[in-house]
Symmetry: C2
Subunit: 475 residues, 2 copies
Amino acid sequence: MNLESFFNPKSVAVVGASNTPFNLAATICNILKYKSYHGAVYAVNRKAEEVHGCPGYASVKDIPGEVELAVILISAKQVPGVVRECGEKGVRGVIIESAGFSEAGPEGQAMQDEIDGYLKKYNMRMLGPNCLGVLNAANSFCCFYGIIPGRYGDGFSTPGTVSYIIQSGGIGALVLDSFNKDVCKVNKAVSIGNMADVDESDLIEYFNGDGTEVIGLYLENVRNGRKLMDTARRVTKPILAFKVGRTSEGSAAAASHTAGMANNDIVFDNACRQAGIIRLKSISELHAMPKMFTTMPLLRGKNIAVMSNSGAFGGIAADLLIESGFSMAKLTPATQERLAKTGQLFNVKNPVDLGPTLNKQTFVDIFDILLSADEVDGLLPVPNVWLDVVIEAILELMAMCRHYNKPAAIYIPNAIDRILTIREKHGIPTFESPEEATRALVVSHQQYRYLQKKETGNHENDLNRRAKPEAACAV
Amino acid sequence: MNLESFFNPKSVAVVGASNTPFNLAATICNILKYKSYHGAVYAVNRKAEEVHGCPGYASVKDIPGEVELAVILISAKQVPGVVRECGEKGVRGVIIESAGFSEAGPEGQAMQDEIDGYLKKYNMRMLGPNCLGVLNAANSFCCFYGIIPGRYGDGFSTPGTVSYIIQSGGIGALVLDSFNKDVCKVNKAVSIGNMADVDESDLIEYFNGDGTEVIGLYLENVRNGRKLMDTARRVTKPILAFKVGRTSEGSAAAASHTAGMANNDIVFDNACRQAGIIRLKSISELHAMPKMFTTMPLLRGKNIAVMSNSGAFGGIAADLLIESGFSMAKLTPATQERLAKTGQLFNVKNPVDLGPTLNKQTFVDIFDILLSADEVDGLLPVPNVWLDVVIEAILELMAMCRHYNKPAAIYIPNAIDRILTIREKHGIPTFESPEEATRALVVSHQQYRYLQKKETGNHENDLNRRAKPEAACAV
């Protein structure tokens, strides 16, 4: 089957949803009704009772008409039998949210084996077990359990273009929540749990064919490294991955959380480099980096121009850029002369210091001079925003970046709550620190270089230098 | 003179304050009146006009009675003459906020030389030039120009215990602004500019004798490295320093901003280590780290226990701790047994995984078991807050940390806006990322180790290993 049934089912049975207090599966019926999901939603429980307006049945097999997807959240022991019934009913896909399978020892593994048999026999696909399920912001399909309608903007009120494959409910919630105050939004999100059938590679493949622009991964282990690499190589969309277990202690902690072998981190790191997967340095980058891809062109070179109206940030940005392997663009005399003509600049060399007294046109002129200069590949603007005209100038900058096909990683120095307000109110893709803005330039250039290497066919040679560590330089 | 005159003057003349539109010095009169500053405030301008309720005089010398401090914000050329008049008047200290001196070439240097002569002749001290001046939250004295009364909570509505020495107005504003949503607040802040007289060392010395608990530095250059080291060695309060210019490009940018030689960064780094100055990794740490000192005991060892109710964060924290040179505390069988008795924990080994269903007492019991365990030196709790009882338990944790004399670096995984709300509303010293919480443990332990070395007298030996780089381990 195509994985589409997991994201856009015409009909779905929520197995385990009842009116018992604190019933978790019922929260799935509730959010689907609240979001007015277009497909049919059924509740399956012993009493065959209706739940949050979803008609109830004692078994999947009792449901009249087709059931495309079954979401199962009951005690582990009952799951194999239900999966068999799903097969008999002709269900296409099952999402098993219950825990207690391979991560819980031999008995759990035996139940998993039984389920695997039914999947094969009835040609069904399975997500999970031990997962939260699926969210599709585009059609408001969501089978995450425990979501309270209306709270936290639900994490998916506005559909976006970033899709996630996440091996932890907590991280998923953090990422979706963070998008409430950001300029890019989620398209689809999947909590993959134990990956006993559908794994991260299958989903990457699927996201390569839908409206997704950026793919984000949070992994605690990789089920099949070779498959992940082969899949990633076929994908041209940016794949951003954060993986736990860089140390043996972190790895051990992850293994106790989700079932799976601890993976050798160096092997994973090399695999990422070869397959063009961008490895993230912190979980916050999972939500912070995608906007660099959705709002800006890729960074095609290493020469960055910094401009600021607070002198200190020029030096701070220069340190960060150099430490990340970039160069401070050497502005030509002609460019410097053009800059000097715009007004009372403190410094026309890079970092360009605008001084305190400027109007919108001066900002726009400086952006234009820097972006149009051949010696500049990208910008790191650090405009202190104390006037509305600066906001207006930055909005023009975004269009200019598209025009010149060069990116700007914007950082607006302010207390974090004010940064969030500016970003949310004006839709400016500002980062939350100069470090984060610098990282955005790094990941943008990594993606550019990977795509270029792909085009020139050089990536075949990668296999030869598999174990050879690259220089410390980040880009 | 004692530097007290800069922070608590009985009388102050604001030279340059007038009713001309956009007059910057007038904003100083305005904020002092708005804050009902207890001392006498005079305006000095050509027309001898009153400014924002401050009586006006044509010259400092015309002011009846004593003038303890003069704040000068006029064009550079006029400054030497005014400083001479201040001397003749018997003024104790001058704060020169005007720019255009040694940072502006030979002509500026000549004016600086003239000023230096008057300072010597009249036994005055000077802050600046090219600076923003001084803020004292305890008595509401503030001579920063450009502050709009009531806006942004002024950055100093609630006096605190963290004092800053900052070589950039932009960074100063960022730090003070960030404190609006944090649990610790500013005591005093000084924008030091060119440091032609009073330098960072003089101010560190001064902050060692007032109500300051933590000293923060933002430096673009060091005027006298030997003096800084000698001063820092005498201070037992934590000194946190961020310095620009780790690369030659950053260094060059800083030199164009504030007058001063670019300093060799490796020398500075070694000096910090020897003198117990804690070097910060990002400007955000300037406001994020102090709360670890003001709200928690120092970290006396390297064995950290992690506890979370979101399994993923156990692994994330373990990776970060190990990479920072800490150990995951090995919980004894007795401790594990005590933990097991508290409830349905997913994992009683470190990282302790609490699972989803817990009440306040279970949280408190786990905190108590971990803090009282000999094998644990400190905590990194990552409690997901979806119930008020968790907040209540964390508030008890803070008292328990004091009781057991062990710190906790708390991270509450949530979108950043929710973290700010929890911190502000409940006064919980939560950090904004697991990376930041880990850094807090690092800086806390650095300070502990420095103080211990001091006590045992080992620091004399430091000079012998001056050029020897330490291991990559951060603690």
